[in-house]
Every structure is written in C-alpha cells, then in structure tokens.
Symmetry: C2
Subunit: 138 residues, 2 copies
C-alpha cells in the first residue's frame, strides 16, 4: 500500500502541504466535486492554487474531469489502476436530479456505441440522470 506522498512522487508531482490536503479531501468524498466545493473546504487557500492543483492532478491522471451537464466542471479521483493515460474514462457517471450530486459508477463501463459509417468514435461521454440511491430511499 503506497502513501499519498509516494503516489505523488511516482507521478513526478512535488509533495506540498496543499496538494496533500486536496488529495485527502478528494479521497474522502464519494461524490465528484466542483472547484467551489474545494474552495469552501479550504477558505484560507487561494482559488487559483486550488484550480492549478486540480489541473496538475488531472494532467498526471490522478483525477478526471466530469461534465455532467450542469455546466460546472466536476472532478473525482481516478480509481486505482485506471487507464486515463490511454483512453478517457470508460466508466459512466450518474447525476442525481434531486440532491444534484454526481457520482462515478466505476463498475459500470460504457457500452460500445455504434456510430454511422464515416464517423470515427474516439471517446464517449455518458451521463445518466435520475435519482440516486440515497435519494430513492434505498
């Protein structure tokens, strides 16, 4: 089991207090978060730093970005052993119309989507909207 420090180093990211804090914050959330969410959690830190930290994580395939259709970019930690480097995010995302939270359904891979002749599919963004398990009352 590698520590967060080791993980960051393995991706050539310098370990800083800020980065450790943000990583831990993301790790303990089970939903995707917006930059504002992070901002609210670290009021003392500057928004730009949080922004750039997340971007760094994204570039190094530690987090992935989620566009759930709300117009606000969300972020979530990549699962261990994901292949973000190779292809984008194969799992699907669920956005709850009730609590407005977005979760990664990492076990649910995106099915093969057929496109018409002449079209070449490179990647797919799939967001299911509805009522999440917490809101459906089981």
């Amino acid at each position: 089991m590698q520590t967060i420090e080791e993980l960051l180093e393995s991706k050539n990211i310098r370990v800083t207090a800020m980065r450790l804090l943000i990583y831990k914050f993301l790790a303990e959330k089970d939903v995707a978060v917006t930059l504002s969410d992070i901002e609210n959690a670290f009021e003392k830190a500057d928004r730009t730093t949080l922004y750039r930290t997340v971007k760094t994580f994204e570039e190094k395939d530690i987090v992935h970005q989620i566009d759930d259709g709300t117009g606000i970019t969300k972020y979530a930690l990549c699962e261990k052993g994901c292949n973000c480097e190779i292809e984008t995010d194969l799992h699907l995302h669920f956005h709850c119309n009730n609590c407005k939270e977005t979760v990664c359904l990492t076990e649910h891979k995106i099915p093969q989507i057929k496109v018409p002749d002449g079209f070449v599919s490179e990647n797919v963004n799939l967001v299911v909207k509805g009522i999440c398990d917490k809101c459906s009352g089981q």
Copy 2:
C-alpha cells in the same frame, strides 16, 4: 405539411419576423449551433432577443439544447414527432474533434443503460467524440 407559422401557433408562440428568421436559420443548418453562431447570422438583432427566442423555442419543444462538452451550449431543431415533452432527447450527439462541429444522430437512439440497484435512470446524455464523416474523408 404545416407552415412555420402554423407550427409556432400550434405551440402557442406568437409569430414574429425574428422568430421566423431564426427558425429558418436553424432549419437550414445540419449542425447544432451556438448562440454566437446565430448572433453572427443576424448582426442587426440584439443578442438578448436571440437568446430569448431560442429559450422560448426550447421551452416549447421546438429546439433542444446540447451539451457536447465544449462548455458552450448548442441548439438544434427537434425532429418532427420527437417526444421532448415526455422524455429528453433519446438520440445521441456526435462532436467532431477536427472541425469542432456537433451533429444530432437522430437515427441512433441511446441504448438502455444499466445502473446499480437503488439508482433510477430518468434520462441519459450521450456524446460521442471523434472524427465526423466530412472530416474522415468519406
């Protein structure tokens, strides 16, 4: 075959010159358009008017909104006989990474997506990205 005027009236939208023009503009495009696209096509008109016209069309299920992940909202006419009122947009959308255009693949319906127990799927947004037929050279 009903005229545009008749269509608008059937949806309880007052017929105005602006609305007819914008409808025709959308009708002759085979790709989804941004508000800026419309703005460029009607330089004399105010941006707000164009915005509100499109929003009106959207409310009345004449156009549907597309979030293709570019961060800019796009719009396209609903197909005749679509069921926007009942459920959202069952067809998939394709965004070309080369020409940056987004098209409705109205013939390609979104497959049934399985979600975990406790989750209720209400609708699905599916955007495929890649190379479109025009850009793939056939």
